[in-house]
Amino acid sequence: MKKSTVFIIALVLLGVAFLVGSVMYIADKESKAGQQLSDAKTAALGRMYAPMIGKLEAPVVIVEFLDPACGTCAAFYPLVKEIMDANPGRIRLVIRYAPFHKGADKVVAALEATRKQGKYWKALEALLASQEAWAPNHTAQVDLIWKQWEGLGLDLDKVRADMQSPEIAKAIAQDIEDARTLEVKATPEYFVNGRGMPNFGETPLRRLIADALRETAPR
């Protein structure tokens, strides 16, 4: 056989293997996305300690894995809020952390500490709105967040003391482990009533929430 024939056959075989592998992998992932999660993953999804907003008996539960330093998380936050406002009492939002950005774990600890003062959601929204100021070049700097929280009525000295607590460190470590179990590789990642997004984007998220709202609609 000619050398060029051998080479071209090898090249084509490699290319075909890559394409077939890709198509199979994507098809497998999409078929799994629509299914309910396994028991281990369901356990990883629902932790009692996680901050939540919305009625406890709300039929639709959105679990969001976020990193306060993540730009897409800040962009998607108003969208989720808007959908929640449009469906009062029907959606509960649970926040979990996947602090992928450098320094973000410290910011998350400070954010968790604001819960003791009942200012969590205001503090979170202030962070998301002022991301550029405290996370320049995708590096979260905890020293820069205090300024963003002025005027919220927070006792910042208490936050600085509380954020050292071992319970908070434990909760963050658990979130990171759960993110791994749930194969969260990028933020934000949403699970709506235990279902993940087949692919990332505003439309898939809207559709996922709309489906869950329809399925649980009172008759």
Binding site: F7, L11, G15
Partner: protein
């Protein structure tokens, strides 16, 4: 070994072609494998992974170019890339194995290099696959560079 030998034996050329072809095959498969992990599975690539890719991706190109027509000097250009890739892969593997302490870990931003994204059979990690691929390429290229004495 005498590179200016005017008598080029068809046998040694055939042998060199096959060895470089095999090295190209390993490089091309590794390149596609890395692209599969990154672009299809969306596994984030850490800094050390990128340095290994910088060694591997060009190998898939230049080894292929060196085959048509056969240019044995391609070994000279390919070996440094393979050697650098091998060193980075070895460093990465030591980091994952915990032999190199965390304090000199170069990856603090983005994806930590100590994350084991894949662990097949309990010991096969991505950097281990990388070491295997670079080692195979280096051995094949060295064999191709040596002219067999009759």
């Amino acid at each position: 070994m005498n590179p200016t030998d005017p008598i080029s034996s068809a046998d040694t050329d055939q042998r060199a072609w096959t060895l470089i072809f095999l090295a190209w095959l390993v490089a091309a498969a590794s390149t596609l494998g890395a692209l599969f992990l990154g672009e299809v599975m969306h596994v984030p690539a850490c800094v050390l992974c990128w340095y290994q890719r910088i060694g591997m991706f060009p190998l898939a190109i230049i080894l292929g170019v060196g085959l048509f027509p056969l240019d044995r000097r391609v070994v000279r250009y390919a070996l440094p890339l393979a050697a650098i890739g091998w060193l980075v892969a070895a460093f990465h593997q030591l980091l994952i194995a915990g032999v190199i302490p965390e304090s000199i870990r170069p990856c603090t931003q983005g994806v930590p290099c100590t994350d084991k994204v894949i662990e097949w059979f309990g010991f096969i990690t991505i950097p281990l696959l990388s070491i295997a691929a670079f080692s195979t390429i280096i051995v094949l290229l060295l064999l191709a560079a040596i002219r067999k004495n009759p």
